[in-house]
């Protein structure tokens, strides 16, 4: 077939009428010629016409042949099937509606989850050649970021000496949100600024939307202060004004030049600190940070042709030779390095949960398909006469299956359209959940890949739920089925058996889903129940700005005054200040007991909180031994420290720790108290060592005022802000935020998964209930006659009900039994996602079994009642 013919055929397909008319005219003319000739040879007009028609061989057949030769016959028959399908579905509107809705929800959930998986796991990072980027951190770090990061000296040495990376950069990850104030225009406003190594954006391959990146001069000591703005911040704060580039803004009362604006596509938070927004970037002045300890997490770009393994091998050689600080010759040999793909760092942790989620929606679609298969089989019963008729009229088996598959496809496509709508809504919602601590969430959307997935899922679903009924229906013996239906009963014992099998498998699938959801839900509840070491409820925190001129005595006086005034606010039960809060900051220092010898690398660092008196009460922490800080712990008095239980137990295992001397930062300090362990960076993991130093003796990095009060945050905020402004008129308008928000943020990924899996399980349960209801209800209808006879013979309504219910229960028991067995296997697969919950958790299993049993009973009870109300006379007369 050449191209010209294809085009011609397609054209002819759309111009059916004119072509038919042309053919008819041609056939008429042909017959006229023939008749004329026949008469000429001497036939009677009647006979001449008859002969002509015989020789022509059937006008209708010829017209069909003509159509086939000129048009697209396969498309014709598809259109025919479609027309027929629409007609049948219109006749059976409620069925079509239920089917399309179920498919819509099933496909929608699948496409939405696929989009999430695609956005987070499958799609490359939104950076230039992202597969060449690597994340470098300590392989042995045990206590938070400080032990995973590198000092300026280590960074510089590694950058110079390595041969595997074409570029090494890093950023300062110890930043807390709202760390700079935009001043100079009325009230100071708090924003988040990240300090990055000068070549950060060049290494990642991010080009500024406006202006330029940092110059070398801007990364020098006493260089001109420069800042790059993030796109959303530029839009929001400067109304997208391009003239801002090159002008000066005031950050913490210092003039800083805006050198550029980053592109919309670059979102630092979504890649490196999910759930947090970053407003601007300033260059790291390396010379200023040399003595700060470990400050950078490192990111590198592999040279072309260099593999991750090669880079790791080289790092293994280089790392032990790096100095923590070149000023101290013995500060060498503490570093290790783990080099992994940046993508792996960003979303590797989510791999398993996302795959579980993917499987869960797959299950949902399976249940939807089984349910639809069931509905189609029920319809098949009432349509078997129609199909017998068509088959008697000459439709082949393939033709009938094709017809049925067309129906399934039409349903699936309609479902896919609704599903896409649902998926769009879900992904649009998710992409704007900025506070959800999942990386790359903003890039989640229904894209081309998701559309392709939709098509795949819809077609697979159509085949899945359409093939079984298709084969059953088309394979029926014509004779039996015509006879069978005339009786209106026993329409298929085997039919009923098949449908029961489907319901059982549906129940088993729902059971697995419910057990999975139950386990995850139980884990989640356990997690919320965890003893954090502090009481997040009724506590709130606000960032406080003060100017102490780097004078410890002045600082102490200011902080004391703030707390005195805040505590005076009605409704405030306790108030305290800390520079770091659990689940927020992440900084650790070395700590050891004075006079004891430790192996190299034996001691983990301790998380450091520099606090004022009142902090423990405000946070709701427990002092276990000794005393808390008081205002008598001054600059110049005996340096003191409080540690958590874990550190105390390790450092002074068999002694009373109170009064012992410890060493941190080269200073001797006396231990005065022991407090409860706090979950410092995650609810799921036990905290490490923690130490508390008084703000009057150590240098805090900022201040968070924590208050404890039964009053709601909204009621407290104005009076607290008023008080803070009365002390420091420059106090920026920071948010008073509930400590619970931090907890919420920390558990948000788990909550996200739990709520999705639970929603899927609920949907699965509903579908299973529908399935049971459909089958039992249908069997009652089928057996109306039989039930009528039984009742006429003296069966009571109760007996009939019990009979139907026991039929239901039989299905439920088999389904749940199979499901429970499968669940044991599945539960083991998700064991690593559970928190303090065994994969055999009896609560989840018992709950599932009870829930499914009750649902089955309820779904069976409605038809059972109907059965018990069958009027024997009507039922018998009906036949």
């Amino acid at each position: 077939m050449n191209f010209r013919q294809i085009v011609q055929r397609a054209l002819a397909f759309f111009r059916k009428k004119p072509w038919d008319r042309d053919f008819d005219a041609e056939a008429a003319s042909h017959l006229d010629f023939a008749i004329e000739e026949n008469i000429r040879v001497g036939l009677a007009p009647e006979e001449a016409r008859r002969q002509a028609l015989v020789r022509f061989g059937g006008v209708q057949q010829s017209r069909e042949k003509h159509r086939e030769a000129r048009g697209l016959p396969w498309l014709d028959s598809v259109m025919q099937d479609l027309r027929y399908t629409f007609r049948t579905l219109r006749r059976d509107r409620s069925f079509a509606l239920v089917a399309v809705l179920m498919l819509g929800l099933g496909i929608g959930a699948n496409v939405a989850v696929f989009s999430v998986v695609n956005g987070i796991l499958l799609r490359p990072l939104p950076l230039h050649n992202p597969e060449r980027l690597v994340w470098i951190e300590s392989a042995t770090g045990r206590s938070g970021l400080s032990s995973l990061t590198y000092s300026v000296d280590a960074y510089e040495e590694f950058r110079e000496r390595n041969r595997a990376l074409q570029s090494v950069t890093g950023y300062f990850p110890f930043t807390s949100p709202d760390n700079v104030n935009l001043t100079g225009h009325g009230e100071p406003l708090p924003f988040t600024s990240i300090t990055v190594v000068g070549n950060f954006f060049r290494t990642l391959g991010v080009q500024p939307r406006l202006g330029r990146l940092f110059t070398a001069e801007e990364t020098q000591k006493n260089g001109r202060p420069a800042v790059l703005l993030a796109y959303p911040f530029w839009k929001r704060q400067f109304a997208g004004d391009p003239k801002i580039v090159g002008s000066t803004i005031d950050l913490n009362d210092q003039p800083v030049i805006v050198v550029g604006v980053l592109p919309k596509s670059f979102d630092f938070g979504t890649i490196f600190s999910p759930g947090e927004k970053v407003d601007m970037f300033v260059p790291a002045i390396l010379d200023n940070m040399r003595d700060w300890g470990n400050v950078f997490t490192m990111i590198g770009r592999l040279k072309p042709g260099v593999s991750l393994t090669q880079a790791q091998a080289e790092a293994n050689i280089l790392a032990p030779g790096l100095y923590f600080n070149v000023k101290y010759p013995d500060s060498k040999g503490f570093y290790t390095m783990k080099v992994r793909a940046l993508k792996q760092y960003v979303s590797g942790k989510l791999r398993r949960p996302l795959i579980v989620l993917w499987c869960a929606v797959g299950f949902i679609l399976l249940i939807v398909c089984v349910n639809l298969s069931n509905l189609l089989l029920a319809r098949a019963a009432s349509r078997s006469k129609e199909f017998a008729m068509r088959s008697a009229l000459g439709a082949g088996r393939g033709r009938l299956i094709r017809q049925l598959l067309t129906e399934s496809l039409v349903l699936a496509v309609a479902g896919a359209v609704i599903g896409l709508g649902i998926a769009y809504a879900i992904t649009a919602y998710l992409a704007h959940q900025g506070s959800l601590a999942l990386p790359l969430l903003d890039s989640v959307r229904v894209d081309g890949a998701a559309l392709a997935w939709t098509v795949l899922v819809a077609v697979a679903a159509a085949l899945l739920f359409g093939l079984l009924p298709g084969f059953r229906m088309s394979g029926q013996d014509v004779q039996t089925s015509l006879k069978d239906m005339s009786h209106g009963m026993s329409a298929g014992r085997s039919h009923q058996r098949l449908r029961s099998a489907l319901v059982i498998s549906e129940l088993a699938l729902a059971c697995v889903l419910l057990v999975g959801a139950g386990l995850l839900l139980h884990s989640f509840l356990r997690l919320l129940d965890v003893d954090l070491g502090f009481q997040p409820s009724h506590a709130a925190a606000i960032k406080v700005d003060y100017n102490d001129g780097n004078n410890a005595a002045k600082r102490t006086a200011i902080l004391h005054e703030i707390l005195r005034r805040v505590e005076a606010i009605p409704g405030i039960e306790a108030a305290g200040i800390s520079d770091n809060l659990p689940l927020e900051g992440n900084r650790s220092w070395g700590l050891r007991a004075k006079g004891k010898q430790y192996r190299h690398g034996e001691l983990p660092g301790a998380f450091v909180y520099i606090i004022t008196p009142g902090y423990f009460q405000a946070m709701g922490m427990h002092l276990l031994e000794g005393r808390a800080f008081n205002w008598g712990d001054r600059n110049g008095s005996q340096p003191v420290v409080i540690v958590n239980e874990k550190a105390a137990h390790y450092l002074w295992p068999h002694e009373n720790p109170i009064g012992q001397m410890a060493v941190t930062g080269g200073r001797d300090i006396r231990l005065v108290g022991v407090v409860s362990n706090v979950r410092q960076s995650s609810l799921e993991k036990q905290g490490g060592w923690q130490m508390y130093l008084p703000a009057s003796q150590a240098g805090p990095a900022g201040a968070n005022l924590v208050v404890r009060s039964k009053l709601p945050v909204s009621a407290l905020a104005p009076s607290i802000m008023h008080t803070l402004r009365s002390i420091n008129p420059q106090q920026p308008s920071t948010q008073l935020r509930p400590i619970e928000a931090d907890v919420d943020h920390a558990v948000s990924p788990r909550r996200f998964f739990v709520s999705l899996v639970s929603a899927f399980a609920a949907f699965g349960l509903l579908l299973a209930a529908l399935g049971i209801f459909g089958v039992i209800s249908y069997s009652v209808t089928q057996r109306t006659h039989e039930i009528g006879i039984r009742m006429a013979l003296g069966a009571t309504a109760g007996l009939v009900q019990a009979n139907v219910l026991s039929q239901t229960l039989r299905l439920a028991v088999i389904g749940v039994a199979l499901g429970t067995i499968a669940s044991f296997a599945v539960a083991r697969l998700i064991a690593s996602l559970l928190f303090e919950t065994a994969p055999t958790d009896p609560v989840a299993f018992a709950g599932t079994i009870a829930l499914l049993g009750l649902t089955a009973l309820l779904a069976g009870w409605i038809p059972a009642r109907r059965a018990s109300r069958v009027d024997p006379m009507t039922a018998l007369r009906a036949n």
């Binding site: 050449n2 005219a25 086939e68």
Partner: protein, 123 residues
Amino acid sequence: MCHTVAMSQEKLDLLQGTLDVMVLQTLAVMGAQHGYGIARRIEQVSGNQVLLNQGTIYASLVRLQQRGWISAAWGTSDNNRKAKFYALTKAGRKQLATETAHWERLSGVMGRVLGMQREEAES
């Protein structure tokens, strides 16, 4: 009934290519001609050995027309009847040459092959 359908389909498959060549050749010899004329001519030439439902010629004609090998136009016959006249196009003439060569080669080969079989059976 099923068998008849299958058989006639088989026959048509056999005829499909051949009928197209016959139509092309007829038009090449006769010049512009209408469907009835072509059908009659084929019947006459083949000595009524081709059992042709005359109606099927129109499927062949529309196929050839779509391929651009023949052109069609309504016109009037000698005895003043409206009829659709078909004529060979340049492309059609080329195609006919190709087809003719193909058929001659094929029939030559077939003749030789069948002849060889008979000899072998005899020896």
